[in-house]
Symmetry: C2
Subunit: 502 residues, 2 copies
């Protein structure tokens, strides 16, 4: 039997049993106590170290549980063969080649339209709920759970959608997923086959690329203030139409009721036709009543409704939801029912309580106030600028469009701003054709042909893209008033065409 | 100006300011205080209610932030038009039609091979790390973050894979995803096109169905103890081969080094050939040293390595990882680089600290002890049974295969066991062909043709599926010894063919 001496005074602050456990483990791993060696009895070691016997017992229990020692009845504790044990991060670890982490682009002011305010996040409440959720050692938190997402959270979401967006749905119509793109992937799988989908241009390049990746033929038409014209849809003849009727991204236009009803009637003509409604940022409107969702006026189950907590809570949550009409829910169960959910159970529980206890409502109302005042400040500042030809897409969402009176190109403007520490994007970056070069031929054909081309011309005038002037997207989600002012000052210098050749 | 009286004594236990806030909000929402009405000054209301002025100020601040009231300089506080505000879950809420929650199948003993032990999860440590991660109001926790997953967690995973599985990778080769199926979807997208993939049968029906859904032609061959024969692969002529060389699911066989090297040589012959190594439960081996991964002997970048924390921590975490060879990483960036990660940032941070601080290592070693003793107990009990013809797939993973001496069919066995409260699955449930009926023709052709059919015959003998006797999968991951004993007693009655007609 070996003797063990441990310095329990020095070193890091840790419980005594842990110091004993760590010391003996280190000795075993380091080969200083050999396989088969007998450890002192708990009574003896406790006496030698002048600690209580239960302290030594806790240390031995830990070593037993992790397989460093074994207990032989009536004989004592013996060191195991530890060749099979995991020993991560010990001194002899061969670390993989270190690599430099890509440094984030450091811009002082970032006008990204995707950015949200992070200062107003209710950290305290989130912490409290997290603690509560984890408190009771509930084993169901560890199990795979419902593939659609937990019923409790789906129920809260259905209630919210019904109240805030007029969406007609029950919890069983809701599917949770780790982001809109994941839900679009699911959608493509449950619909099956290679389909044609029509999207408005410009739009979300991510949605465009997702459907391309899933083997869809994606056709685009220019977005207009009048919404998607049903004749254009008939010309292109897709099975699916992807729209953002309540707030088109990035143009910010709202589809009039007439266009909505015509699209619904078009979809109802054939069983395989569906409208995908991406209701991405409907939470934030600063003037007038919220516009009801397209789904709320659909009586025939032709609308697939998509929404997300990325803008209303945080992009890092990775929780989106999809509401399917009944006949597609059947296909989901058939083709995709075997998938586990992509949203972790603990996070589902936290979000459920966050909504149920009224924190989501309070957060939304608070954030709308925050964003509205930034929006108002930005608009007030833009009015003072000579280089601002036109502002559009205002009074909702988290960005506005600004048409700039300059001889510079959009790319040049953005580049010069970035060189001075201001990140800003031009409207062209949201042109879907740019997102994937190899589908361009199809797109070109679609856009030029007859009616569609006429609409496109109309769109160019009314969609805020007239005459070839650059259009910038100014997102204010995460910017304070001084930051907005600072960013605009840089744009003053950059946008003023008289200074274009400095 | 109105007077406000609030009963601060009664009702729920809550801070005073919150009671005041809730009361005034309720009065505004209920229309009892009208739009434009002036509220009493904070000093006056504080006096009336006999509370401190700062208490009233906190309540008013909350109402201001959420848009119920507005402040007019030098005039006071006025009630806003609240038509635009979110009011979720108030009394007038129209709740969606309530539906019955599907009741989980209640089995007393569940021999599921997917189940893990939940009693040993280190809840305390997880809680502590969660609290630390959320502690500092770090705004980056809310931002979208790295599409591949955060560098810190990828680095910990790369270190673990290198140490425990010999995987050659740096953090930049690792992609995180919400489950293996999501990573398989990504993989299909980054490889592009309609490809042919070969899988061993039986296997993971989820992986089979995922590749089917992604438009792949999935062919199967019978799994054998000798591992996948390279001649069989040549006969089928796929581009991709999906294997579980360290522990085939569900058979439990280990692919010999010779077969591994032959497969690697086959893959190296053409640029588009790849081996997908699903290293699903390599953490749990109870005899001998861990078997190094196939990726660790691949010198030419032909192995795509998949792993998960579902079995080593919990299925509900939804964190899996994929290690790509360099040339595929380029294609990932091109075709899939636009996707946001599907793993929430907070969870990534928690897991990173869990691994970094040694808790993952301790948990693995502890769980291996737990599972090993259950495995040993189950094997000991099975030895006593007359109805057990053969046990295979033992000494690793979380289940064993038991060939049953009975005149009953597998389905009948499982059904009778279930009727007596014991959930158990038969090997046939993991036959991939059953997973999707409409691909059966292709499969049939593949399996019957020449060499492949001969292999299949061999497989039938050696893979533990001889002579048409039923084969049950007995998973012990979440079962205690008394539960295992109880389950086996039920199987005693069910499996004994002399009682088959009771």
């Amino acid at each position: 039997m070996i003797e063990i001496m441990i310095d329990l005074q020095g070193g890091a602050k840790a419980p005594l049993y842990e110091k004993i456990y760590e010391h003996i483990k280190r000795e075993i791993v380091g080969g200083k106590i050999a396989t088969g060696e007998k450890l002192p009895s708990t009574r003896r070691l406790a006496g030698n170290l002048a600690v209580s016997r239960s302290t030594v017992e806790m240390a031995y229990d830990q070593l037993l549980a992790e397989g460093y020692i074994q207990s032989q009845p009536c004989r004592g504790f013996f060191v195991c063969d530890i060749a099979q044990l995991y020993r991560l991060g010990t001194a002899d670890m061969q670390t993989p080649a270190e690599e430099e982490r890509e440094s984030g682009e450091a811009c002082e002011v970032d006008f990204s339209p995707y950015a949200i305010d992070t200062g107003s996040f209710p950290y305290n409440i989130w912490r409290k709920i997290s603690r509560n959720v984890l408190m009771d050692d509930r084993e169901e938190l560890l199990l795979a759970g419902d593939g659609q997402g937990e019923y409790g959270l789906r129920s809260e979401i259905a209630g919210y959608l019904h109240q805030a967006r007029g969406v007609n749905c029950s919890p069983s119509d809701v599917i949770l997923g780790a982001g809109n793109e994941y839900l679009e992937i699911l959608l493509a799988q449950l619909l099956g086959g290679e389909r044609t989908i029509l999207m408005e241009n410009p739009g979300y390049p991510q949605a465009y690329r997702t459907f391309c990746n899933m083997g869809y033929q994606v056709k685009t038409v220019a977005a207009t203030e009048q919404g998607l014209n049903v004749q254009t849809v008939r010309d292109v003849s897709p099975e699916l139409v992807y729209i953002m009727p309540s707030h088109q991204f990035p143009l910010g236009s709202v589809m009039p009721l007439k266009a909505r009803l015509e699209l619904l009637a078009w979809a109802a003509e054939k069983p395989e036709r569906y409208l995908i409604e991406d209701d991405h940022d409907s939470e934030y409107r600063y003037r007038g009543k919220p516009i009801p969702s397209l789904q709320s006026v659909d009586g025939q189950g032709k609308v697939i409704y998509l929404g997300t907590f990325s803008k209303s809570i945080a992009p890092s949550l990775r929780i989106s939801y999809m509401v399917l009409p009944p006949q597609l829910m059947e296909r989901y169960r058939e083709n995709c029912g075997f998938y586990s959910t992509t949203v972790p159970r603990m996070l589902q529980d936290i979000l459920k309580e966050f909504i149920r206890d009224g924190h989501f409502e309070r957060h939304l109302n608070k954030m709308r106030g925050v964003y509205r005042s930034r929006h108002d400040f930005l608009l007030g500042e833009l009015k003072k600028r000579g280089w601002v030809r036109k502002v559009s897409g205002d009074h909702a969402g988290l960005h506005v469009l600004v048409e700039v009176d300059t001889t510079l190109t959009e790319e040049e403007l953005c580049k010069r701003a970035r060189m001075q520490g201001v990140a800003v994007s031009g409207l062209k970056e949201y042109e879907l054709e740019r997102a994937k070069a190899d589908t361009e031929v199809v797109l070109e054909r679609t856009q030029i042909s007859g009616e569609a081309a006429a609409k496109r011309g109309a769109g160019s005038k009314e969609g805020g893209r007239s005459g070839g002037f650059p259009v910038l997207l100014l997102g204010y989600g995460k910017l304070t008033e001084p930051e907005i002012a600072k960013g605009l000052e840089v744009l003053d210098a950059v946008c003023d065409s008289r200074h274009a050749d400095f």
